[in-house]
């Protein structure tokens, strides 16, 4: 096995280096990916950088490309996450009724354990801040780095942190299995709904400009900007729910009781 591994690895490495021979110099602003091929019209990278703000009023080019120009990709990226959540549920979740709790854990007993008092208090202080920051990341993705994925992951991580600091059951009391599965579906429904709605208004899928009539904005560009916020919220829902769902299933072997 090791010999085969070495063989495969060196073949791959050799091929990669063979391809490196005619690479453009790193950081060259005129290389094909950065400036396109001469004679092929507008480079997509240049188009995005120069036209995004005119097309969508969104200064963060990455967000605009992600949620609008290549929004179809992002829809399916969200579907991948959703599929992962469903997959883990299908593989790990122990079917039937969850086993009954020996000792019901209530709010008083969460922090009652003295060994956990420092962690518990710190998390109590931290988690609201983290969640607020996550919402900010989702909402401010148009103007600064961030967006639905990052915000969603951070929001999901805040629930994971809660589960780590207290225990999984306590976290699940606040964010139950049914809730997060429905939330995950709802997120994709929001995203695809925006696209389908455009189709009902006789435009192509995800052609947000037509939603101007709904949002009552001054121009179609602003409608695009608003719709992007909408789909980012959808993405954030799905990502939050699935990140927590994956953690909950992985840490409790699919029993969703006492986790890590």
């Amino acid at each position: 096995m090791k010999c085969f591994a070495l063989f495969a690895v060196f073949i791959t490495g050799g091929l990669l280096l063979f391809g490196t021979a005619d690479f453009p110099e790193q950081g060259d602003p005129h290389s094909p990916p950065n400036a396109g091929i001469p004679g092929d019209g507008v480079s997509i990278s240049h188009y995005y950088l120069t036209q995004t703000e005119k097309d969508t009023h969104v200064p963060n080019v990455v967000t605009a490309v992600l949620a609008d120009y290549r929004g179809y990709d992002t829809l399916f990226e969200t579907v991948v996450i959703f599929a992962a959540g469903m997959a883990i549920f299908a593989i790990l979740r122990v079917s039937g009724e969850p086993r009954k709790r020996h000792r019901p854990i209530t709010d008083s007993s969460i922090n009652g354990d003295h060994r956990r008092i420092i962690i518990g208090t710190t998390c109590r202080l931290l988690i609201p801040v983290i969640q607020l920051f996550a919402l900010y990341v989702v909402a401010h993705g148009h103007h600064s780095p961030g967006g639905g994925f990052q915000g969603g992951v951070i929001l999901g991580a805040s629930f994971i942190l809660f589960a780590l600091a207290n225990n999984l059951t306590a976290a699940l009391q606040r964010f139950s299995e049914k809730t997060f599965m429905n939330l995950a579906c709802l997120g994709i429904l929001i995203y695809a709904g925006f696209g389908i709605f455009c189709q009902f208004l006789e435009h192509n899928f995800l052609d947000y400009g037509v939603l101007q009539k709904i949002f009552h904005t001054a121009d179609p560009q602003m409608a695009r900007s608003h719709s992007m916020l909408g789909v980012e919220i959808g993405v954030a829902f799905t990502v939050t729910a699935i990140m927590f769902a994956i953690y909950a299933n992985l840490s409790s072997k699919g029993e969703l009781d006492n986790g890590l």
Binding site: G27, P145, G147, Q150, I154, L250, S251, K253, G259, L260
Partner: protein, 81 residues
């Protein structure tokens, strides 16, 4: 982009990758993998890919390290290689 800084990061990156694969304790390996993710996130921040760096910080260094740890917690901590 300061090339000295980037070079040091790249070298640390390789070191972190090798160590996380060589450590026999899977919990340590997961933690070092988290460090690896964090280093690569710094690297991307220096390259101007802030959104990618942000995602990697949240996903790679945060959530996927936790996923690894959760799995190691439920299985065996020692590894034969």
């Amino acid at each position: 982009m300061i090339w000295q800084f980037e070079t040091i990061l790249l070298i640390f990156l390789v070191i972190a990758a090798v160590i996380s694969l060589r450590v026999k304790d899977l919990l340590s390996a997961s933690m070092i993998f988290g460090i690896y993710s964090f280093l690569i996130c710094l690297l991307w921040a220096t390259m101007g890919a802030v959104d990618v760096a942000f995602t990697e910080a949240a996903v790679g260094a945060g959530v996927s390290a936790v996923f690894f740890i959760a799995t190691v917690y439920n299985t065996k901590r020692r590894s034969s290689d």
